[in-house]
Symmetry: D2
Subunit: 299 residues, 4 copies
Amino acid sequence: MGRMRIGFIGLGNMGSAMAANLLTAGHEVTAYNRTQDKVDAVAARGARPARTVAEACDADVVVTMLANDEAVEAVTFGEDGIVASLRPSAVHVSSSTISLALAERLTAAHADAGQRFVSAPVFGRPEAAAAANLFVVAAGAPGDVTELEPVFEAIGQRTFVVGTEPKAANLVKVSGNFLIASVIESLGEAMALVAKGGVDTGEYLELLTSTLFDAPVYRTYGGLVARRDFEPAGFAATGGLKDVRLTLEAGESLQVPLPIASLLRDRFLTLLATGGGHLDWSAIGALSAWEAGGPGPTA
Amino acid sequence: MGRMRIGFIGLGNMGSAMAANLLTAGHEVTAYNRTQDKVDAVAARGARPARTVAEACDADVVVTMLANDEAVEAVTFGEDGIVASLRPSAVHVSSSTISLALAERLTAAHADAGQRFVSAPVFGRPEAAAAANLFVVAAGAPGDVTELEPVFEAIGQRTFVVGTEPKAANLVKVSGNFLIASVIESLGEAMALVAKGGVDTGEYLELLTSTLFDAPVYRTYGGLVARRDFEPAGFAATGGLKDVRLTLEAGESLQVPLPIASLLRDRFLTLLATGGGHLDWSAIGALSAWEAGGPGPTA
Amino acid sequence: MGRMRIGFIGLGNMGSAMAANLLTAGHEVTAYNRTQDKVDAVAARGARPARTVAEACDADVVVTMLANDEAVEAVTFGEDGIVASLRPSAVHVSSSTISLALAERLTAAHADAGQRFVSAPVFGRPEAAAAANLFVVAAGAPGDVTELEPVFEAIGQRTFVVGTEPKAANLVKVSGNFLIASVIESLGEAMALVAKGGVDTGEYLELLTSTLFDAPVYRTYGGLVARRDFEPAGFAATGGLKDVRLTLEAGESLQVPLPIASLLRDRFLTLLATGGGHLDWSAIGALSAWEAGGPGPTA
Amino acid sequence: MGRMRIGFIGLGNMGSAMAANLLTAGHEVTAYNRTQDKVDAVAARGARPARTVAEACDADVVVTMLANDEAVEAVTFGEDGIVASLRPSAVHVSSSTISLALAERLTAAHADAGQRFVSAPVFGRPEAAAAANLFVVAAGAPGDVTELEPVFEAIGQRTFVVGTEPKAANLVKVSGNFLIASVIESLGEAMALVAKGGVDTGEYLELLTSTLFDAPVYRTYGGLVARRDFEPAGFAATGGLKDVRLTLEAGESLQVPLPIASLLRDRFLTLLATGGGHLDWSAIGALSAWEAGGPGPTA
């Protein structure tokens, strides 16, 4: 494809890094963020600053990387939104973790406007985004997904195509975050148990990750739980609650009971209600120890 | 240490392989099993057959690898049991997955008899036992554990020493099996969800194990769940229930609530009550799909 | 207060009975339903038939008794809705089981239009509605609630005023339905247990309801579960799921983890996914027996 | 039957009151307790003091009312225990809340000794015991149960015969305590929710107990939770944990998954681990409010 003209909307920890990597890969990037200071930082790395969503839509591809459904809706719909601003046949790539219901609505709205829509949420924390090491989960019309390969290659280490309906990618994404949270919770329980039985949790984690549990998810989150390293948040508990809620909503819509997801929802609510909403989502891994008589996540 | 004289009690799938590897490593092995046919098979590979527990105790080290607390109690206590038969200063190595309460009782009984006791449960399925690729989790008096290194090296790829009280190894073992079961359950939920949403579970698992979940536990158990490959059992559901029960007992004794372990207990009971007690324990991973309107584990 | 002019919108099992009792009490009732046949039945008992929502709003009080948020929104907002049609200072009484979020929105919309809004959901199954034996849970401005006493007296046996913000009544209502569902589930578990132990569930229920559990909720729902009497539904499982969802949404909004509500949600999803969405909501009480190897709710 | 000769073993809050009521009813009572001061108090009301279990067994009927399996085993088995001391054809009535496994063992042991055994656990708190208002749940050979009617009438307001195998009564008893605990937990969740939503929990409870939840279990336990009245304990949390454990053990033995019982076990463990083991078991009803950011049960 060569150099692509890309609008980038949403310059948080993740989005800024992704936009920077698109620039590094040689693409032309027009960057927009609700607050201007984030735009300046990316502009300093070579992006064209956009003062409105519409300006960012003067592109072949517009990528959105925002916190939740509401934020995506705010930039997509309405008079100056993406649907109203994007030229026919241009593509909206949604990398945000959004609900399946919104993915369906975006698919329909862009189709109605003669535009294209691809869901491409990513796995990886801000460090991985900075290193262009994200995993991209994409779904959409096959031709569209192929055309976007240069975008995905610029931000990630590998792309998985999981379906032709965009919402399939969102389902895989929320279920993946559910699996991460389930690892945090089960490690939290196991560590609370062995710690009270006199075993060092750092050595315990070393044993786990040297054997059957030799995976990044155990090393990363197990380390955060073992060290009680919850601040600053790589991904905040409020975001974790959102993703578990999206998983449960998908489960309700598809009629799939998800008892561990139900438990995780209660865990995140406990964490928020006791003052830990700003902590990294791995802080739910400290709740078992708290219930077992130890210090709480915010201690 | 050179050649050791080892009694081996318990020649199931795991024990037979472990005894064979001790022979391969050059040790002298006297093998006992409640049913004689298993003994013959190991004798054919060079072991001395024992007709009684006491005969197997004519050794420096006696290893027990049995199904549960009851089986270990049956060979350990009583007139012709290990405690009565083992010579002073010899070591009983328990590789079975037993309760912490029994580990405490064995520690005391052997100490009273002037003998030594080390807990050394193992992680790995029968294939790993056959390949001498087990992970050994050992706890006991430091000198005892060091002395047993040749035994552990013969059966496993790596040994983790987790404490000086034998029961610490049993705690780590049961908590590890709890973590495996929690992976099975959470994968079962996630796969039921994405499958009903039209995503191929094999490709989904490939995505998971290529990214954050790149660990043997996800590849092995995820594959069994995705393929619904529950027979023959590598480790039966009845054994899974036992290990979750041991985890919950440890949690009760140490006053640690373990909500995921509680859920797993209910899952295993459902599996047993609906006719799946003989299936591999990974079959609990099919219960979410069943509850979501799909076929049950035994279908 | 004398004779009141009342519009009544929503003539299902519950609404028809309530409208009839308002007529019996001497009030003038204009009745509206989305499908006309229900209107004819109430008209035969003396109500004035309305062909539009607006016609039903030619009244001092308009009562809505509808299935869910969507149905209430459909008749309330828009060009010909209640807000647009009701005269200033008239009152909208919402007896539907709706979300707290919608109650807030209704409160604001009617206030903006110079109208009044009171939440007055009811407890009771269709038999109780027919007998004017409902319990009314009301919340709103004190003067408004007092003024509505004749309405509440016509449909119920007792009114409880739980707050001055309308949504408080909705919170009490959804939490009450949550408590009923929790009774169904716990009875389902206990009955599955004692039945498998050889105890007759009918006698067991007689014992319970003769002692500490001597309450209508145990007699009614315990009887349905013991007799597996799930058709026709007095209140369908889909409605039960809705109310548990509203409870969980309230819990999320107020940051209160609700583990039993989470379990109930999974139970209702299992019931729906296995073909029981049309059954009475008490059918979740058959799921424990099913998981214990017995027949499912639809058997 | 007239005056019976009754040995009574176990003079705690419950047992003392029951023994006193047997005296009031005109029976001859020989009372034993592990600590002598309790015996003196009952002797002052007319009982013959026993210094040993064997002395208390010089009777037609010996009733045991003890804290748990261990306490019942301690007085039943061994050289000077009930089995060894009771005359042929005399009856041991166990009113303690014990496991089904122990009930089976007692049934067999007394049969082997030519004696009879009846399980007759009771429902009711110490106030009910004092007022002879207990509910007796009896199971055993029909003739034996009939013969014991005067005993049951002296201590309770009504007797329910639930089977001919003694353990059936224990199953009903533990399942009943499970149901009580499930009421406490669900009320705890509902009250935490409505309280955070601004509704007064006392008025909320009044509403519940005036309507569908008009039962002693809601009035008694709802009042304790609403008032946070957990000390002194009528029935301690440690006892609640024991009874939930017995329920879960029965469920495991009968292969019945019991998700609410699993949750309750975790609740009691949390309560114990955070210092509330001495509180009334209704204190688990304060855990939801604690998790929702409020004060803990011991605050």
